[in-house]
Symmetry: C2
Subunit: 217 residues, 2 copies
């Protein structure tokens, strides 16, 4: 597949440009693999970088929070943001110190967040969030009350002005270093699932998504 061009000047990757990837499928895969993003924005106190949970629906990245939260209040004011998501996939051990590297997948998204104001759309977005986290759970729990929905802000940003950068594979050594007698290769890093920890007062059978949690990676 050919790599499209960068959607804007500020998303054009210059440093190690061969790792740049402007394909929408790459962007979606990086967002879908993430539980959270980092949001950079500016206000009267300076530049900030705040982590928050996120999910994707179609061509938008969504976040949510309490109406009272500073982040969402500020983002409602049409402020320009930069949203970043990065996954580290491994340490790349080369024959020289200089050629050591890391394998990673990163996405950087520019734009402004907009509020999801329509009630049904807000409920649908939050249901989609739950479904993305734990498929099937939404039907088992107590759904949000009108008061809880009213206290929650949902916002989204278009995944249009974005760039990804991906490094994979082994070390790129200088030709003259290839005979140095040292181990070279990749030490992979993975996000995996630990054994579920049940709450004290649970009296129901363990559902499939909990039983299968550790083996589903």
């Amino acid at each position: 597949m050919t790599n499209p061009t960068a959607p804007s000047d500020r998303t054009r990757i210059r440093r190690i440009a061969e790792n740049a990837d402007y394909q929408r499928s790459t962007l979606y895969a990086i967002v879908d693999a993430a539980y959270l993003c980092h949001i950079a924005f500016q206000d009267a106190k300076g530049t900030h970088c705040i982590p928050t949970a996120c999910w994707r629906e179609g061509g938008h990245l969504y976040i949510h929070g309490s109406n009272g939260g500073r982040l969402l209040k500020l983002l409602s004011g049409d402020v320009q943001v930069c949203v970043s998501i990065t996954h580290v996939d491994g340490l790349v051990l080369a024959r020289s110190a200089f050629n050591h590297s890391m394998n990673y997948r990163s996405a950087v998204i520019y734009g402004c967040f907009e509020r999801v104001t329509e009630d049904a759309a807000k409920r649908a977005a939050l249901a989609a969030f739950m479904e993305s986290l734990v498929p099937g759970r939404q039907a088992e729990i107590r759904a949000g009350s009108d008061k809880e929905f009213a206290a929650t802000t949902v916002m989204r940003i278009a995944l249009d002005e974005a760039a990804c950068k991906v490094r994979s594979g082994g070390p790129n050594d200088d030709a003259e270093d290839m005979d140095i007698p040292v181990w070279a290769g990749v030490l992979p890093l993975l996000q995996t699932h630990g054994a579920p920890v049940v709450d004290a007062q649970v009296a129901v059978a363990t559902p499939g998504y909990v039983l299968g949690w550790q083996s589903a990676v």
Copy 2:
């Protein structure tokens, strides 16, 4: 241990303030567990959020890169930054949709980066980075040449104006939801180590830090 107060107004956590942690030991542990950070800064093109590898020495967080890179060039100009590191530790499944949460450890650091200009200090910092990634490897590889060191910029930021936020443990359900017959608890997320991938032309015995990689988490 008592929690010190926030070092500045902009590091004072207001939302779910009981998860705020201003202890230096917490901050250091979060930085030491990270391979990368996200750096937010402002320039003529807007607000940016760029991931980069990082490590800690004493009371500073360090980054490095090519002299020609835009990020390091820009940060050399005394620009105010916000550096964020976040680890996701699990999905917290509550009895109501609204009380679902995530367990996490996050650090947010404000300040300005400064260049490490002195040659010996720069070399020592890069050696410390390698040692933090793969203890013992520094002695086996080809060390940086004068040209490679000259092409590399090392910068650091004091870990002084910073705040951490940490959530751990099970769900906090509303009292009236406790009898809802649904599984509740935590689905843990972990960063683990995959099987090392050896480069094609390696003809040496596998070192201990590679043999032990998968079991060292």
